[in-house]
Structure formats: C-alpha cells, structure tokens
C-alpha cells in the first residue's frame, strides 16, 4: 500500500487539472482512500510536485526484426550510449536503438510505463515477442502490419469481406498482436516489382486492388471486430515533397471511420516532388481538425543521430540512394517488407531544419490535444529519450524561439513557427503523453488515475526547466511498486504484453491453411504463437 500525498494531480481523463489530491495504491491498482489503512501505507510526500499517470507511447520501434537489424548494422550507435551493469541491473548499449533491457530502463526512468511497438510483420512477430520479454518494467504491445497482406488483398479483390474480417481476427490471435498497422498500402507489394504506389487509386500489381480499398476495408474490419485501437496508418509517399495533398486526401477518404495517422510530420510536406519541401502543416492540421474521427502522432525530428526503420521498404531504398547511407532491406513472403537506414539530422541541413519546424507547427496548430500525441517515431526522427526536450519546446515559447534561431536560414524563411505563440500547459502535456494515447489505444486501465486504474504513476519535481523536469521524475511507480527514485532505476520487474484475440469463424482456417501450403515456407501449424510463449501477458477484450 502506498499513498502519494499532497501532489498537484494532472489526470485529464477524469477532469482533474492540477488540484492537490492524494492518490492511494493497493494490489497494483489505484484505490479509494477508504480501502487503505493510512497507518500502514507507505507515504510518499509529493507536496510541491506534479503527479501524472505513467507515460504512454503509442508508436515506437523498440523491438523485432527491424530494430535488431538497426542495432546490428550500427556498432557506432551502440558506442554512443553505454550502461554498465550495477547490482541486479543488466548492462546495455545503444543511443538511437538501445538494447532491450536498456530500452525498458530508459523508458521507466523517463516516467513512461506503456509502449506500443509500432510495427511487426506477423511472420516475424515471434521474434518481436522474444525481444519484448527482454524489455523489463514497461507494458507493451505490437501493431501487426496488414496493408500489403496477400490474403487480405485477395479477399478485397473478390469482395469477400467477411472472410477478410475473420482472417484479420485469426492473424491478430496467431501473432499475439494488439492492432492493425497499415504501412504504404499496396506500395510495399509493388516494391517487390521495383515499383510503388503514388496515389489512392493506383493498382496493386497482381491483386487489382487500390490503396483506398485496402484502407477502407481494414478500417471497417476494425469496427466490426471492435478492436480497442483503430487502424494505425502510415500513408502513401512518406518523406516526399508535396505529400501533404495525398495525406489530406487519405484522411478524408476514411469517411467518418476511426483511424490513427502516425508520424504525420513525415507526411506534411508541400512543394513539388523532388524539390525542396515546404511546410504544409497548416493544410494537414486543418484536415485533422475538420475530421474529428482522426487522431495523429507527430514524429518530431530531433537534431542528432537517428536510425530510420520502417515497413515502407521502397522509402528506405530511395532514402539510402539519396544520402548515400548503408541500406538494409527485407521482403517478407505474402505479408510485408521493411528497411533500415541510419541518418543524422543536422541543423545546417535546410531539409532537416524544415522537418523539425513542421513537427512543432503541427503540435501547435492542432488545437485539440486529445487528437495529437507526442512521438518521435522512435528512432526514425530521433530517440524517445528526446521527449523531454520536445516538451520544453512546446511549453516554453522563449526556449522555442532560441532553438529556432539555430536552424538553417532557408528553413527559417519558410516557417510560420515564430507566429505560433501557443504554450502547452501541464494538463495538455499530460494529455499528449499519457491520457490521449491511452484513450486512443483503448486501454481502459492506463493513462488515468481513477479508482481501478493500473497503479502506473509518475511524480515530477515541478522545475522551471521542463526538459529537466520530464527527463528525471522524482518517483515512478509501475503496478504499484516504486521502480524509479530521483530519475534512477531502483527496481526491475517484468511488464506485461497486451494483446487482443477477437472471435472469428473457425471455418476460415481451412482457407488459411490452403494459403499457407501455396505461399508460405513455414507450416500453418507452426505459425501461431502460443500465449505461454510471450511471457507475462494480458488479453484485452474486444467490446
């Protein structure tokens, strides 16, 4: 039993905005004061401090085939950050792609307690789950890539929507996934012929379907299966000048159906293809505002080293040719693809500076904080360890102006950032870093401090320098146990893997088995992952 006494509580889900309140914990859950014996409870004095739910990251590449390829590819990155073992804690390395234990430690030390792995192809999800088991403390889940899946595209082509729905349910169960991820729908399949898709009506080779039909089918399937999280969409033409138009068109194409668009900074460029990108943040922010069923995360660029990794394999190829960097690609049978390219964002690069500015513009232009979430698309636009710096830029106009002065002149000239005077409040930060993402993920016990919530809580010293404040919380509590004190890890425990298992018509398995016999090199029987092979886990209901 723990009582967090006298802190200023920010619990936006429950409408609590900085009031002084006590929070009580028992059995890993938040309880009412009546349920604890105040004499026996450990009391944490939080007076003068800020109390929030544990941070929730809904888009971060922390595990699996791509992340590990990034580690293996770049020993130079592993040398940038090392941590020695101390007592019970494991050693680790890696600045943009930390090793598994270090990933858990760094997230926890930053006050984050739940992280969603942004993408895994189902064929290699077993690998992703093995790594997730070696990421301690935090709870996590995996989004499963489906936007280039042969079985689904075939069903759409044949108008067999019920079959597609049953397959998606089967696939989520088989891969122990949390939700549907769509990456460059149809474009990754076309890349297997050296091509891509440019707009929503382009044809996917061999399937006669279009990106538009794939998106709309999967969005409807999500509704029918009542999955907690809507389709998580990485759209078309990522990183290309002029892609804002297709982004707006894609947002509109959802026609009132729930969808989450990830790292839209990479999707909000004006200008002509092949030419210098201009900010189209105004246009994209407006489309987000006008379409209330859409949410976004930003993918804020941080200057310094990054490792790009995405299922958008054709993007990685063109990036590597453009910047002359080492290139990793993996085409995955019947399902997906992926690539990895290391990259350093530099202030003296006008394109990088423009990208940095666009991210901040989006944060400041999208007025409803419940619909925009803090991410760096870790480690694509920079490592998650940079979140506190982003928070400072959002909360502190003067600091932002100072940072703006350092960027490339050409980017400055095109930016509207100096005109944006908004400063995020602590309550709004609590929304974009925990309440909002938790709500959007459909995690009823996360992102708030109401009775019955998981006792995942972060207490911050209320410092003037918000980067300092959010980088080193005074206390972090996970499942009711103190895991971090004064920014230092003091306890290691296992987190849980969150997954869904929607029901489906078992008859579908006959068709899937036939598909395996024709198209896979792994047998149907050996493909599904048993629940006991993913470590401590929690199955979420779909209702």
């Amino acid at each position: 039993m723990i009582g967090i006494i006298g802190g200023r509580v920010f619990d936006p889900m429950n409408g609590i905005n900085g009031t002084i309140q006590d929070i009580w914990i028992k059995g890993g859950k938040i309880v009412s004061q009546e349920e604890v014996d105040p004499q026996k409870a450990r009391r944490i004095d939080a007076s003068g401090q800020v109390v929030m739910p544990g941070g929730v990251d809904l888009h971060s590449h922390i595990s699996g085939a791509k992340a590990n390829a990034g580690r293996k590819l770049c020993p130079e990155d592993s040398r940038r950050l090392i941590r020695a073992r101390t007592g019970f804690f494991r050693s680790g390395s890696g600045y943009t792609v930390p090793s598994t234990h270090l990933t858990g430690y760094l997230y926890a030390e930053m006050g984050y307690t739940t992280v969603m792995e942004a993408a895994s192809a189902p064929l290699v999800a077993r690998h992703t789950h093995e790594e997730l088991q070696d990421i301690p403390i935090i709870d996590k889940g995996v989004l499963i890539t489906m936007g280039n899946n042969h079985f689904i595209m075939k069903c759409i082509q044949n108008g067999e929507m019920e079959k597609a729905r049953d397959y998606v349910a089967w696939l989520l169960e088989a891969s122990k996934g949390f939700g549907i991820k769509i990456v460059n729908p149809g474009g990754v399949e076309n890349w297997k012929y050296g091509k891509n898709v440019q707009n929503l009506e382009d044809e996917v080779i061999g399937f006669g379907v279009t990106p538009r039909r794939i998106l709309s089918a999967l969005a409807r399937i999500r509704e029918e299966l009542k999955l907690p999280h809507p389709p998580h969409i990485h759209g078309l033409s990522l990183g290309r000048s002029g892609n804002a138009d297709i982004t707006v068109e894609t947002i509109k194409s959802m026609e009132g159906i729930d969808a989450h668009f990830c790292h839209i900074q990479f999707m909000s460029y004006g200008g002509k293809p092949g030419e210098f990108p201009k900010s189209a943040a105004v246009k994209v922010a407006q489309a987000v505002t006008e379409n209330p069923h859409i949410t976004v995360d930003v993918g804020q660029v941080l200057f310094g080293p990054a490792t790009t990794m995405t299922s958008d394999a054709p993007f990685e190829f063109s990036l590597s040719r453009k910047i002359g960097a080492k290139w990793v690609n993996n085409d995955l049978e019947s399902e997906s693809g992926g690539g990895v390219v290391p990259l350093t964002y530099k202030r003296n690069d006008p394109v990088h500076s423009t990208m940095w500015s666009i991210g901040l513009e989006l944060f400041l232009l999208i007025e409803d904080p419940w619909r925009v979430y803090l991410t760096t698309d870790h480690p694509n636009a920079g490592p998650f360890s940079g979140y506190p710096e982003v928070i400072r830029m959002l909360m502190d106009r003067d600091f932002r102006a100072q940072e703006f002065e350092k960027i490339h002149k050409k980017a400055m000239k095109n930016s509207i950032l100096p005109e944006l005077n908004r400063e995020y409040t602590l309550n709004e930060i609590a929304i974009i870093t925990r309440a909002g993402p938790a709500k959007r993920l459909g995690l009823k016990n996360k992102g708030h401090l109401g009775v019955g919530a998981d006792a995942d809580i972060t207490v911050y010293a209320n410092l003037e320098n918000k980067a300092e404040m959010f980088a080193h919380p005074a206390w972090v509590i996970k499942d009711g146990e103190v895991v971090v004190r004064d920014g230092k890890l003091i306890r290691e425990q296992l987190g849980r893997t969150l997954y869904v298992s929607p029901s489906y018509e078992k008859a579908i398995e006959k068709d899937i088995r036939a598909h395996f016999d024709n198209s896979y090199t792994v047998s149907f029987e050996n493909y599904p992952i048993a629940p006991e092979h993913i470590g401590p886990s929690e199955k979420l209901t779909c209702d």
Partner: protein, 422 residues
Amino acid sequence: MSAVFENVTCKFCGCLCDDIAVEVEDRRILKAKRACPNGLGMFLNYDPTLQSPLVEGKEVEWDEAVSAAADILSRADSPLIYGLSSTSSEAQRKAVELADRLGAIIDSTSSVCHFPTTLGFQMVGGAACTLGEVKARADLLIFWGCNPMEAHMRHFTRYSANAKGFLTPNGRRDRTVVVVDVRPTKTAKTADRFLQIEPGTDYEVLTSLRALIKGKDINEPVGGLPSEQIKELVQMMKTCRYGVAFFGMGLTMTAGRGYNVAEIFALGAELNQYTRFFAMPMRGHGNVAGADQVITWLSGYPAAVSFARGYPQFGPGEFTSVDVLARRETDAALIIASDPMAHFPRKAAEHLERIPAILMAPVTNCSSQVANVILPTACYGIDAPGTAYRMDNVPIRLRSVMQKVRPTDEEMLMRIMEAVKQ
C-alpha cells in the same frame, strides 16, 4: 506403440525445415519422414536417455556438476562463453545474461563462419528477402562459394531452384541458376552456368561486376573468367525480375573475407536501381542466426562481445574466440551446443585444452575430450521445445517429440547463474 509427430522442425542446418514427420517409439526415433540425410542422422542418432554429468571424467550428481561449473566460471578472470548455434534462443538469452553477470566474453560459432558477413553488413548494409520470396519470385539464383546440394540439402526443393511459387509455377524451368565457385561441386553440376574462378579472386570478380554495372568496360579476364562471361552475368543480373545471390564460406572465409561480403552486398544494392536483387548468407547450424539476433538485442552487438568492463564492448579480432584463445587471453571456457575442438585452428584448440572447460551439449563430440565438466543436456527440437531463427531470420518453433528426462541448456544456465551468485 509408436506415435507420429507432424510439422516437426529439423534444426540441423539453417534451412529449419518444419515439415518433418517424426515417428517415435519408446523414446527412440524410428523415422523422420522428409528429412534430408543430414537431418535424418541427427534425429536417428540422438540418444535421449539420462546421462550422468561428468567432472574430471567421473560421473557425479547434477548438483555437484553445476557447482563445479560455477566454480570454474567464478574463479576465472576472463571466462569465454562460446557456441550457441545449436541451442534455442531461450537458452541463448540465458547465456548472454550469464556473460553479463560474469563479465565474460561471449561469442557464437558465427565467429568461424559468417562473422565476416556481419562485418560486411556493418560496412554497407544488405538487402535480403525471406526464403518464401525466393520461392515465389526469384527467376535468377546465384550460389557463390556455397554448396547447398551437400550442406543444405532441401534448400533447392523447399525454397530455391526447384520450388514452385506464384510467379514461378514451373519451378526449375522458371529460373536460371548460376554457380560461382573455385571447383566443380555437386551444386555446380545442376547449374545452368558454372563460373569456375581462381581461388582467392572473389573480390576481384565481384568488383568487376560492380564496375560493369556502373558502366565501366572490362576487356581482360578476371579471376580466370573471360570478360565476356562476366559481362553476360551482369546482363543476367540487370535484366532478371528478382535475383538472389546466396553465399557461403567460400566467400566469407577466403582472402578478403568481410570485404568480399561488403562487395556482394554493395553489388546487390546497386542492382536495385535496375531490378530487385538480394544477397544472403547460407547459414550453417540450425540456430546460428538466432545467436546473432539474441546477442544483438541483449548487448547491441552480434558476436565477439566482452562484458569485462561491465558494459558490452564489440571487438572483432579482439574478442572473437579463436583470437582470444590463440593469444591465451581467456582462463576458462563454457562451450554450449558446439564443438570448437573439431573446428578451431590448432593454436586456439591447444589453449582450450589447457584451460578449465565446461561442455553443455546433447551429444559427445571432440570437445568432450578436453572438457573438465560435461553436462549432457536435452536436444532442442527432439526432447525439448524452443525457438530458432532460420537463415533468413524467420523465427520458427522447435517442437519436442518426447518427454525429456535430461535438463535443457536453459535450465542448466539458470542453475549455474544461481550458483555463481552465491
């Protein structure tokens, strides 16, 4: 009464064929249907009965063997943990944890096979695809310095030359097969083109291919091949639909090593400006790819990792097992699921003989001769389940076809870890 287990994964080689039907009677395997001769040998020869662990050649209780092993490792200033390529990823994870706790050096058998592939990958990256994509799409296959007909015997039928997929419905007839090697192999005999190059000229030939792709002209023979043959190969590579070059130790362990691999990876990347093209290693042992994966996600580096300073350090040539042993920089060894005495150069093997060594393996091998402590563990994929990574890094479940009576590597490593802590 015999029982048949379907869809069993054979972990002999990096193909990890998962379609084997294994027939078992009285804890003995009678048949392993569809397994190749290599796999069949593994299934039929394994004796799963409980064996006593040995300390200095004497049969002892398990507790005593564990404490003897822990004693060797705790006393050592610079212990080496080596092998891992035929164990499960679950056990590999424990091995890295033990290395971290001990401040040991950890290295896998990659060290003496495809470690140059890692170094080449770190230089230039690498484009690959899963074996299912090879089966479905590849119309040009190049086998360079490898001999799957004898080493990966079902590769052709399950994944490559003879497999039938949705763009290759006629199997072998829909593909062109090229073999590049220094001698005619069994694989070369099946090829549409066999390019026999002079030993040690792989780098030059690969560089010439790259030069031609970049538009340079070559009019002299390279590596013993007339320039016309090289030009023809370039043409085939540029005009194929989906090309895959598989390479083996003929490339990784001959003059140039990692530079050879960087060259073939760079060649693959450059060809993607014309078509789709990939270069992929033919991994040997069943879970050697998994050893790379596991050591990487836990430490940041794939092999040759030292925890001696308290944090992971990567040192090719410095912490690679053969080098560490040959320079006598280690004073104890824990060998897991491998046989360094059979494969290491004499100087390294001699030092291994000199220092206290622990062997954890399901079978007796050359390294049993020198090990001071022998822990006869279960065989993953026969009497213990687990996870392994295929040569294309696809993770596949290893099933167990009988109740185990032996402890697993994972259990042993956990017990040693407990004993080391005390």
